[in-house]
Subunit: 568 residues, 2 copies
C-alpha cells in the first residue's frame, strides 16, 4: 500500500456506462504505473450533480449494478449513489470498494450534506452517521471520506454541522486501529480563489489525522457546474502536492518516497509534481477563469450532443470575448458569428466584429436588420408612439435574437447569449433578444472580469504568433447597447468598477445597501437605487440561460429572490 | 380560552410592513368577534416562501422587530423567521407569542423541515429539537406546531423524519401538564386532491393528542406557489370544520359549543361553517384548479406591481383559456389579446379569437404578420433552404412573440405565455416564441385539464347569463400549432389522453418507461421515445416562465434533470 492513484476524471451526469468505461480506463493506467489502490471522485458513477435522476430508483440501482460489473486489476474505491434501505428513505452518496475477485461492498456514505450555494444535497441524500473505515490488506486500514465530510474540520463551511468526520477518524486512529491514510472522494466545484481553501482543508485534515490525506476531485463541466480537478495530497507536516487543473488524468502518490506524479489522459505522459511546504503554486486568476468558462462551454455542448454554436457579434467586448471562448472550446470552425447592423449601429461595430472573426478564423455572416426592422416597427407604430420607449429598443434586440436563433435552428447549432453578470443583474439586457441562447458563457462573469479575459485572450494569441482577436477599438470604446442614437451604458449605469463592487458585496456577501455604503464609503442613495433595480429585474434572471458558475455565489434557483421581494 | 381565531391571510413575500398591517387587521376582526387567541399562518410576517431573503440577516431581524411592534388586543401567535443564535447557524422558522402589554417571546421553531418537491427548508432553516408549549392563562397550555411538524404523524411525507412532534406533544400532555389544544401554523400549498390529505393530517393529530387540532393556512399566491386557505379544526372524535378556500378571512372556532364560523375580509360577513364527521365536503376539482390558476396570476401580477397583461390569441384552446383566466384574475379591461394571422392560419383561427375576446369583453388587436414575415424569411433564405425545417416554423412563432412583447413593453404590461404542461414537457413549443412571457398560467396544467377548464369557464359564463367565451370550434378542432400547412399536433404527438397519462406517471410518480409500460399496458417503444423526447427538451424547461404550481410535482429547479441526463 505504497502507491495510491487518484483518478481525476470528467464523468457525464447520467451516462452510467460511459462513466464506468472512464473509470476502468483510468484504473488501468493506475495499475500499469504500479498503483496498489485507486480512488475516484465523488459520485463518479453517476456524474455530479445528478440532481433529479436520484429520484428515479431505477437510476440509482443501475449505478450500483455498474460498479458490480467493473472489471479492475487493483482495489478501487468508487463514488456511487447507494439505493436507500426503504422506500421512505433517500439514497446515500456512497463510496464502494471494488477488489478483484471479491464482492463489492459499500464502505461509507457521506455524512455532511452541503445545502447552500450550488449544493442541494439534503434534498437528495440520506446521511451516514459513522466515518468510513476500510481494511485494504492485513492490518492496514484507511479512512474514507466524501467531499464536505472534510470541510467542517477546517471551519470552511457557512453553517456548522453537528459532527466532524475528520475528528471521528482521528479518534478511531488514536484509540482503535491506526489508519495509514485517509482518502476523500470529491466533486468540489471551481470558483475563483477556491484553490487555496481546498488546500487548507487538506492540510488541516492531514495534521489532525496524523497521516496523509488524499483528495481526488472531478474535472470538467456538468451543466452549470465546473470542476477544476487539482486533486491533492497533504502530509501531516504541511507538505502538499497538487494535480494539474482542467485536465483528466491519474495522480500517482508514492507514500514511501513522499513524491507525486501525474499521467495525462491525452498523451499518457507521466510528469513529476512539485512538493510544496504549506504554501502552494500561485494561480493566474484570469487565466484560470478563462479555462473555467472555456471548459464549461465545451462540456455543456459535447455532453449535450452539440458541436457548433452561433452568436450575434456587435463589435462590443462581450460578444468578442464570447466568440473567442467558443473558438477555444469548440474550434473556430464550429463557431458562427452574425453581424446585424441597424440604423443605430456605428461603423466600428461592424469592422470590430470582422477583426475578431478574422483573427479567430471563424465564419461571420452579415445580416443588416433594416429590411425587417422597418416593417416590424410599422406594425407596432401606434403602440411604440404612444407607449414606453423601451419597446422600440427591445424590438431591435429581439429581431437580432430571432436571426441568431434562426441560423442556429437551421444549422442544428446552439445559440449563445453574450450577456455578462453585471448587466444581467441590472436587467440591462433584453429578454428573448440578447438574452436568447442555450448557454451564456459570461453569465456569471462581472463586466470588469470580461475586460481581464479580453486581455488574457489577446496575450495568448500574441504568444502563439496570432493576431489579437479583441481590437483596440473594442477594448477602448465606451460600452454601448447601440439601441438608440449615441447611447452608452454610462448614461444609465454607474461605472462598472463601482457597479461590480456593489453587486458583489450584495450578491456574494449578502450585505444590505446600508452595510455596503458603510463598507465602501459610497453614496447610500445611489446604492439603494441600484439594489432596487436589481430586485426589479429578478424576473429576467428567472429566465436566463444556464451559465458556468464561476463566482462564490451565482444566479440560480438557490439564490433566486422572490419577485415580490421588490417590496422589501 | 374558548374562542380561537385562525387568521387565514394572504401575505406578500418580502413586504414586512404590509404583512404586519394585514395581521393586525385580521386580529382586530378576531377580537371584535370575541376570540381570546389568534393564530397566523406559517411565516406570515415574511410571507412564504421567503427563499433567499432569509440569507440577508437584516431581513430576518426586521421581521422579528416588526412582530415586537405589533399592537394587538388579544394574545397572538405569529409565524416569523427567527434570527440565528450565531453567525454559523441558520435562522429558525418560528412561532412568536404576542400578548398585549407583555414582552414577545419565541415559542418554538419548526422541527421538521421539508426538502422535496417545492420545499427547500433544510437550505434555509435550522430545526428546533423540542415541541412548542405555550402557557396562555393560568393552568392552560397549548401545543404549537408549524406545518410539516404534523405531517410525519399521518405518514404523509415522502421520507420519514427521525422525530414526530405530534407524539412529543401527546407524551407531554399525558405525562406532564394536559394541553387544551394544539395549533398548527401552515403555509401548505395547494395541489389537486391535497385537501383530503390535509384533513387526514388534522384528524390524525387530534386523535393522538386527545384534544382539538387547529390548522391555520396561508391563502393566495406568492411567486409560483399557490395556497388555498381551507384552515381546519379537527376534534379527537373525527369531527372537522373547514374554512372556505381562496378567500382571506378569519376562522372562529368555539371550542365549548364545537362550532366554527368564518368572517370574510371582503364583506366582513360572518357565516357558519358545517361540521363534518370524518368525511368532508367534496370539492369540484376543475373549479378548484380554475380558482388556483386565477389567483396565481392575480397575485403574481398585483404583488409585482403589474396591472395588465398581453397575450397572443391563435383561436386555439390554450390562448382562449389563458385569456379567460386573465379576465377572471385582473378584469377584462386589463387584458389585451393579439390575433396574428400568418399565411398558414386558418380562417377560424381569427374568428375564434374574436368570439373569445368579445365574450370576455377584452380588447383584441389584429396584427397580420405577413409584412414582417416575408422580409425576415428573405434574410434567412439560404439558411432556411439549406437547413432544418424547424427554423422556418420557429420563425413565425418568434415573430409573434416579438409582437406580444412589443405591445406589452409599450403598455407597461406583462406578456403571458399560453403553453400547457403537456407541450412544454415535449418541447412542442418555441423558445422566445409562444414561450415568451413573464408568467405561464397553464404551464403546470395538462392539456386534458385545459379542456376541463374550458368547459368550466363556459359553464360559469352561462350561469351568469353571459356568452360562453370558448367557441365550439375552439373546443372541437384538432389542436394545431398552425406553423406549417395542415399541421396538427397529432402528426407528431400521441393523443393527449395517452401523453398526459405517461408524462404524469414519469414526472409525478417517478416511474421509468418500463414501469409505465407495465402499469398501463401501452407500447414500451412508444413510451421510451416519448421519454427520450422529454429529456431532450430539458433545456426549454430551464428557461420557461414561472407557472402556478398546481400538480403534485411540477417543473422547476427541484425537479430539473441535468441536460446530460439525455444519455441516461
Amino acid at each position: 500500500m505504497t502507491v495510491i492513484a487518484l483518478l481525476q476524471i470528467d464523468p457525464t451526469v447520467g451516462d452510467i456506462k460511459g462513466n464506468a468505461e472512464r473509470i476502468s480506463r483510468a484504473a488501468s493506467i493506475a495499475h500499469e504505473y504500479g498503483a496498489t489502490l485507486a480512488v475516484t471522485p465523488e459520485l463518479a458513477m453517476s456524474g455530479y450533480p445528478p440532481r433529479d435522476l436520484l429520484n428515479h430508483s431505477g437510476f440509482v440501482k443501475r449505478c450500483l449494478e455498474q460498479v458490480h460489473e467493473l472489471s479492475v486489476d487493483l482495489p478501487l474505491i468508487v463514488g456511487c449513489p447507494i439505493p436507500p434501505e426503504t422506500e421512505r428513505t433517500r439514497p446515500g452518496n456512497g463510496a464502494v470498494r471494488v477488489i478483484p475477485n471479491r464482492p463489492t461492498r459499500v464502505v461509507t456514505q457521506k455524512q455532511l450534506l452541503p445545502t447552500y450555494d450550488v449544493f442541494d444535497e439534503e434534498r437528495y441524500f440520506h446521511s451516514d452517521t459513522k466515518p468510513g473505515i476500510l481494511r485494504i490488506v492485513d492490518g492496514q486500514s484507511i479512512g474514507v471520506t466524501i467531499c464536505e465530510d472534510a470541510w467542517q474540520h477546517a471551519g470552511l463551511v457557512p453553517n456548522d454541522y453537528p459532527v466532524d468526520p475528520i475528528e471521528q477518524l482521528a479518534s478511531f486512529s488514536m484509540e482503535g486501529e491506526a489508519l495509514i491514510l485517509t482518502v476523500n472522494l470529491s466533486s468540489s466545484p471551481y470558483h475563483a480563489h477556491k484553490q487555496g481553501t481546498r488546500i487548507e482543508v487538506a492540510i488541516s485534515a492531514a495534521r489532525t489525522l496524523g497521516h496523509p490525506f488524499l483528495l481526488c476531485n472531478q474535472v470538467g463541466g456538468n451543466d452549470d457546474l465546473i470542476f477544476d480537478g487539482r486533486s491533492i495530497v497533504a502530509w501531516p507536516d504541511g507538505k502538499i502536492a497538487q494535480a494539474p487543473a482542467w485536465v483528466e488524468g491519474v495522480m500517482m502518490i508514492d507514500l514511501k518516497s513522499k513524491s507525486a506524479q501525474f499521467v495525462d489522459f491525452k498523451n499518457s505522459e507521466k510528469i513529476g509534481l512539485d512538493i510544496y511546504q504549506h504554501e502552494f503554486e500561485s494561480v493566474n486568476t484570469e487565466k484560470d477563469l478563462l479555462e473555467a468558462v472555456t471548459i464549461g462551454l465545451r462540456d455543456y455542448c459535447t455532453k449535450s450532443g452539440l458541436s457548433s454554436v452561433v452568436l450575434g457579434m456587435s463589435g462590443g467586448i462581450d460578444s468578442a470575448v464570447t466568440a473567442a471562448i467558443a473558438a477555444r472550446a469548440l474550434g473556430p470552425e464550429n463557431v458562427v458569428g452574425i453581424s446585424m447592423p441597424s440604423r443605430h449601429s456605428s461603423d466600428h461595430s461592424i469592422s470590430d466584429a470582422e477583426i475578431t472573426a478574422e483573427a479567430l478564423g471563424m465564419e461571420l455572416l452579415s445580416i443588416p436588420i433594416g429590411s425587417m426592422h422597418d416593417p416590424t416597427e410599422m406594425l407596432l407604430l401606434d403602440e411604440i408612439n404612444q407607449g414606453n420607449d423601451i419597446a422600440a429598443e427591445n424590438l431591435q434586440s429581439r429581431l437580432r435574437g430571432l436571426l441568431v436563433m434562426g441560423v442556429a435552428n437551421a444549422r442544428g447549432a446552439m445559440a449563445m447569449a453574450t450577456g455578462n453578470k453585471s448587466e444581467l443583474a441590472m436587467g440591462y439586457c433584453t429578454l428573448y433578444g440578447d438574452m436568447a441562447g442555450g448557454y451564456a458563457p459570461l453569465g456569471d462573469v462581472w463586466k470588469t472580469e470580461v475586460y481581464a479575459l479580453a486581455h488574457m485572450i489577446n496575450d495568448e494569441a500574441v504568444e502563439n504568433g496570432r493576431k489579437p482577436p479583441i481590437s483596440e477599438s473594442t477594448l477602448n470604446k465606451p460600452p454601448s447597447a447601440e439601441l438608440a442614437p449615441n447611447q452608452i451604458d454610462r448614461d444609465t449605469l454607474p461605472p462598472y468598477e463601482i457597479l461590480d463592487e456593489i453587486l458583489r458585496l450584495h450578491m456574494e456577501e449578502g450585505l444590505s445597501g446600508e452595510a455596503i455604503a458603510g463598507f465602501t464609503g459610497r453614496d447610500e442613495t445611489m446604492i439603494a437605487d441600484l439594489l432596487t433595480r436589481f430586485n426589479k429585474n429578478e424576473h429576467k434572471r428567472w429566465q436566463m440561460a444556464p451559465s458556468p458558475r464561476v463566482s462564490a455565489r451565482a444566479f440560480g434557483q438557490g439564490w433566486r429572490q422572490p419577485l415580490a421581494a421588490r417590496k422589501h
